[in-house]
Amino acid sequence: MQPTDKMEESAIYERRVFKNASVYHYMKIALILENEDKRMNAAHFKQLIISALKDLYGEIGAAFPFDVLKFEENTLTAVLRVYNSGLVKLWSALTLLGSYQNEPCAVQVKQVSPFLLALSGNSRELELD
């Protein structure tokens, strides 16, 4: 955190610049199952991701917290929150996840940002046709 150029002028004006001060990164993802009839709740979903992390990084490597902030059962889309230091690991574990209950699956990462707010306004989702 680097607060900079505090301006003089009127007492009320204040400006601060925070560089890399966000503690977390946020990911918007979708799980694609080959068997589209399969159902899953948020807890199962999180368990699936945890086991993907363990597969790739082992017990210790995978021992960092992340949150499933939002999960929609009917579309299998989710919003995850992870500490910056865990982003690359979480992301790569999601990429290498290839099966769920012995059936093929894939995780598509739709958006990644250090701002949760940015996930509510992604212009790449704009469809006008």
Binding site: E14, N20, A21, S22, Y24, L69, F115, A118, G121
Partner: protein
Amino acid sequence: MFTNLEKCPRNLLVCEKSCFLNEKSRHDIHVAKHYFNYKVSVLIPECGVIPSRLRSVVNGFTKYYLVRDLPVYKLLEEEFLEKVASKGSIYALSYNTKIDQDNTIALLPTGQLILSVDKDTYEELGLEGQVSEYNHRQPMRYVVTIDVTSKSVALGTKRYKRAMWALKEKMPLRSDFLLARHNIAGDEEGALQSFLSQHNCKELRPSVSIQTLKDLPCPSLDPASLRGGGELCDPHQFLEWLGAVTIGVKCDNEASNFVSTYCCPEPQGSISQALLCTVTGLLLPEDIHSLLEELRRYFDEPKFTSWLSVTVHGFADSPISWGTTEHGYHKGGENFYSFVVFKNQDYWLHMGTGTNDGCPP
């Protein structure tokens, strides 16, 4: 060996605190210079029904056009510049073009045409430009700015003719565009319509969605304390909460919860209901300015809330973000700003941006 797995790309958050009534307040400049806006969302605590004046402001946002396969030189033609562009503020941004992969073009109301192009296009065009700030080992992207308002590239000059020739004959760039014009009073629509009628074009209205959110925990805010600190939440925590509310994340989890431990920052109060109004499309700074003015007037009458917020998201694939600062797409193209408007006309302005972007002004 794996230390780089814990690193993250850079991001910036610039926060300002000021008062709308302060003569030196730059809020209007910030709004005017964030040219290409994709979405605006307004959150008003303790409000169940959208006030009619606010409704008419959001419904009155300028319409925009999707113009198919437009040759880029058309935006530099004398007729266009004199009859269409000079009679209002014109905004055009290439559509379905990705700044991390494709040629991306923007026309600003200042008269600047900005082309962010790949190496091949740049070499073929033969126009003078700058190497993009966001290249890897070798330059693969260049930015060409053609400013027809400057003397050296004005209509009829050698350089203007050269630019026209480059775009018309040498490398006939074409693209789909989103285009809109903020009209000045007394201007005739005719010239714009006649320009559009020459092309395959679709008229679009910004889409408005209104929701009422119920029973939200909400962090306590003190207008004097932008940084938070002490007991209050810091700007990142506040923006995280704002994001959580906007996308419908549950904000009251226990620390022991398996799925999510996210919780609204302390100290917190609660809101029985809140209005969330979102407008999406190619949104003009002029309209956002009117929206902000209307929101300031919200506190003319006594209200249960002491603040409200308005967030504006820029286009992820715009070649510029803050003013004419070059914008790129690293792992994302986020560029947004968010006002918190307080009852006493104080405000906070948060400007957030990702890796391939300059520092907000």
